[in-house]
């Protein structure tokens, strides 16, 4: 049971942290429609985080709820992927990160829809519908901007190159992943990697972008609670109110 708790919390941490990152764009998007789209995605993700973390809190059985998991844990207790905690950078960086994540998220949820755990399957089915919109949008934007002007092409290529070393972690299988796969709770990450690779490769080709070479060195550690320095700052902002006024509500 503890394995499952940890796994579900990981799922929640990924979308919570990315949602918080995206929300930093609110009111600052390069165009009104872009601003609204990113914030809509952020809103979907925070709703999804709530579903996962509420379930994790239930499984944990320690009397905590989803808010306490979100607001009262420290950085080393978050087990999200490093990719989602990276700063937003330029709009190209944000979009490239979103694309790489959305494709992974889409195939992960598709697999989780068949989870042997009924509650996980229910949540995944709900999220999957929303993430289909996300991945279509980010796929579309990769192609438009990659195959756009000289400037947009260069920016997208730089963004992909800079983020690439954070994509290895999407597919590294640790003991927890192994246990979840053995129980039929989570999909096989090696299979997921093939699906991801295929879509990303196709889109990059269409976007006239260069896929980084295979076998490059990859970052890791987020899934085990070893983070970049960026996560602490993100949490400081997100958790400030509950840390300062514990239990505050309105």
């Amino acid at each position: 049971m503890t394995h499952k708790t940890d796994y579900v919390r990981r799922l929640g941490d990924n979308v919570l942290v990315l949602s918080q990152r995206l929300s930093e764009w609110c009111g600052k998007g390069p165009a009104l429609e872009e601003d609204m789209a990113l914030i809509n995605v952020s809103l979907d993700l925070i709703g999804q985080a709530r579903l996962w973390l509420a379930y994790a809190a239930e499984l944990e059985g320690a009397g905590r709820n989803e808010d306490q998991l979100a607001f009262l844990r420290d950085a080393h207790q978050f087990h999200n992927l490093l990719l989602v905690e990276l700063p937003n950078g330029s709009y190209a960086d944000t979009l490239a990160r979103q694309f790489l994540f959305d494709v992974w998220h889409y195939f992960l949820l598709e697999g989780l829809c068949e989870s042997s755990d009924a509650r996980i399957a229910e949540i995944a089915q709900k999220c999957f519908k929303e993430v289909t919109y996300h991945v279509r949008r980010s796929t579309d934007l990769m192609i438009r901007l990659g195959d756009g002007s000289e400037e947009s092409h260069r920016r997208m290529q730089d963004a992909i190159d800079a983020l690439w070393m954070y994509t290895g972690e999407l597919f590294t299988t640790d003991a927890l992943d192994q246990a979840m796969q053995a129980d039929g709770i989570a999909p096989d990450l090696a299979e997921l990697q093939q699906q991801w690779q295929q879509h990303v490769t196709e889109v990059m080709r269409e976007a006239t972008l260069q896929l980084p070479a295979a076998g490059l060195w990859m970052q890791g550690g987020g899934k085990q609670g070893r983070h970049t320095e960026h996560l602490g700052y993100l949490l400081a902002e997100m958790q400030f109110l509950q840390r300062t006024y514990p239990g505050a509500s309105w």
């Binding site: 429609e33 609204m36 809103l43 993700l45 709703g47 929303e130 289909t132 279509r136 796929t139």
Partner: protein
Amino acid sequence: MNELASRAQTLQASIWEWLEAIPDPEIPVISVVDLGIVRAVEVSDADAEAARCTVVITPTYSGCPAMGVIAQDISAALRQHGLAEVAIRTQLAPAWNTDWMSEKGRRNLQQYGIAPPAQQVVDIRGISLRRQAAPQVQCPHCGSMQTVCVSQFGSTSCKALYQCKDCREPFDYFKAH
């Protein structure tokens, strides 16, 4: 016993009627029932004084901020109608879809200036990750079919942004989801 059962049935029917009068907090022309988010009404202890009921609702989108308000509105309205105990249960599966929206709800949206879902919901599993052609949507203002999708993401999670090429007005489209 039979009398009690029939009283429960009557009460259940009344509760559905009362729920029909509760508007969605963000789109006040459509009721929570017409929107398709009320999945069931369960009544126990139907003898008038201490009737208890559970209303089962399902969220539209995971992050929809209206869900909390909707739960509060339902509780408050049913208490006002004299129910002693009202519980709200959230159910995720089967996931909400816009085919559950009533005909009345669709008409009301149209009259309010929001184009209702123009398509039946399809099982999206296994279909393309690529952007689909935006559906043909009728302008709720002038009735023209010459409209264009400006953004798949609109003023709320459930809507996309469109513009009419004839009357030039922008409008919201309630996405088939």
